[in-house]
C-alpha cells in the first residue's frame, strides 16, 4: 500500500527523465516532474557547482509496475555560448534500488542508468536529443528521443512564453518502438509546464519544472 501510494504521488506530481536544464545556478534547487508513455518520475536536485547537480530520483515504470529510488548526478560537459543562443551537452548517471509494486513479483534489486543529453536553443527555436541506457533490475533497456520546438512569439523575462514542440522517441523493447508526441510548453519565471499526447500509445505527456 505504501509503495502504491508513493507511485501514485509520483504520478500526481509528474516526474522525470532528466530534462530541460538539469544543472542550475550555484546554490539553486530544481524539482522536475515528468510522465511520459513509459514512466512517471520525480527528480529533485541541488546545484553545488555550475557544472554539476546532485539529486534524488523516484521513477515508476508503469507497465511493469517497478519503482526505482536512487541518487542521480548530472554533469554539464560543455556549454556553447553565443549572444542569441545557448547549447549544452550533459552526461548523467544514477544508482539505486528497484522493486516490484502492486503484487509484481520482484524483490529489491540494484538498479541504475546513464545517459547523454544535448540541446541548443534561441528565444525562437529549440532542438534537443537524449539517449539513456538503464537496468531497472530486469536487464538492459534503452531509449532515445529528439525534440524540435518553435516559439510563435518572443517574450521578455517574466512574460508567459509558449512553445510548440514535437518529440520523437525510440524504445526498442516496446510494442510501439517509435512514437511521436506533439506538446505545448508554457514557461514563466521559475516554472515550466509541458502538456502533450502520444497517439500511438494513447498516453498523455506532462512535465513540470520549478526552479528556486
Amino acid at each position: 500500500m505504501r509503495k502504491s501510494a508513493l507511485a501514485a504521488s509520483c504520478a500526481l506530481l509528474g516526474a522525470a527523465a532528466a530534462d530541460a536544464r538539469p544543472v542550475s545556478y550555484e546554490g539553486g534547487w530544481t524539482v522536475i516532474g515528468e510522465s511520459d508513455r513509459e514512466s512517471t518520475a520525480l527528480l529533485t536536485h541541488y546545484t553545488p557547482h555550475h557544472e554539476w547537480s546532485l539529486g534524488y530520483r523516484t521513477e515508476w515504470m508503469r507497465e511493469r509496475d517497478i519503482l526505482f529510488n536512487g541518487v542521480q548526478a548530472t554533469h554539464l560537459v560543455k556549454r556553447w555560448f553565443a549572444p542569441d543562443s545557448q547549447g549544452n551537452l550533459y552526461a548523467y548517471a544514477g544508482a539505486g534500488v528497484a522493486e516490484g509494486i502492486d503484487d509484481t513479483p520482484m524483490d529489491a534489486e540494484a538498479a541504475g542508468f546513464l545517459g547523454l543529453m544535448a540541446d541548443w536553443e534561441t528565444r525562437r527555436w529549440f532542438v534537443s536529443y537524449e539517449a539513456r541506457l538503464s537496468d531497472m533490475g530486469e536487464g538492459g533497456d534503452a531509449m532515445q528521443a529528439a525534440r524540435v520546438g518553435v516559439a510563435p512569439y518572443v517574450g521578455d523575462f517574466g512574460d508567459l512564453h509558449t512553445w510548440l514542440m514535437l518529440e520523437v522517441d525510440q524504445r526498442p523493447e516496446r510494442d510501439e518502438p517509435v512514437t511521436v508526441t506533439p506538446l505545448v510548453r508554457f514557461f514563466k519565471g521559475p516554472v515550466l509546464l509541458e502538456l502533450g499526447y502520444t497517439p500511438a500509445d494513447d498516453e498523455p505527456f506532462a512535465s513540470l519544472i520549478y526552479r528556486f
Partner: protein, 138 residues
C-alpha cells in the same frame, strides 16, 4: 538490439554536437539593425533601457553597472542571474533584459563589486560575460 541502439545514438549525438558548434560560429559577433519592434529579433542588440526597479535604486544613490552576457535565452537564465546577484549585500537592485542581453545592477552607495567579482558571479550562474560598463553612460 542494444548495439544497434548505441550506434544510432552515437551518430545522432555527433550530428547534434556538430550543429551546436556550427550554430555558435554563426551567431558569434552577429548583429543586425533594430526596426523598432518591442522585442529584439535573433541577432539584434538593442540599446538597454533601465527597468523601473533599477531607476528606483539609482534614485536612492546607488551606482549603475550593465553587463553584456552571452547565452541568456530564457526565463531560467534570467532567474539564475537575479537569484545569484540578489543574494549579494552589495546589490541594491538587479534586472535581466533578454532583448538587450544585459544584466543591469545597482551597487549600493558606499559598497563595491568589481568587474572580476561580477564576471565570477555570472559564471557561477552558468553564463559568460562579454563586457561590463559602469556609470550613467552604461
Amino acid at each position: 538490439m542494444i548495439r544497434i541502439f548505441i550506434t544510432a545514438s552515437a551518430s545522432a549525438l555527433a550530428i547534434a554536437i556538430a550543429g551546436l558548434s556550427a550554430a555558435e560560429a554563426q551567431h558569434a559577433g552577429h548583429q543586425a539593425g533594430h526596426e523598432g519592434d518591442e522585442h529584439a529579433h535573433e541577432g539584434e542588440t538593442l540599446a538597454p533601457t533601465l527597468h523601473a526597479d533599477i531607476e528606483a535604486a539609482l534614485r536612492e544613490g546607488g551606482s549603475l553597472v550593465v553587463a553584456e552576457v552571452n547565452g541568456m535565452v530564457c526565463d531560467f537564465c534570467a532567474t539564475a542571474m537575479t537569484k545569484t546577484f540578489g543574494r549579494r549585500d552589495e546589490v541594491g537592485a538587479v534586472h535581466v533584459d533578454l532583448d538587450t542581453k544585459t544584466l543591469q545592477l545597482v551597487i549600493r552607495e558606499g559598497r563595491t563589486l568589481d568587474d572580476a567579482a561580477i564576471a565570477d558571479l555570472v559564471t557561477r550562474s552558468g553564463y559568460e560575460t562579454v563586457a561590463i560598463r559602469r556609470g550613467t553612460g552604461a
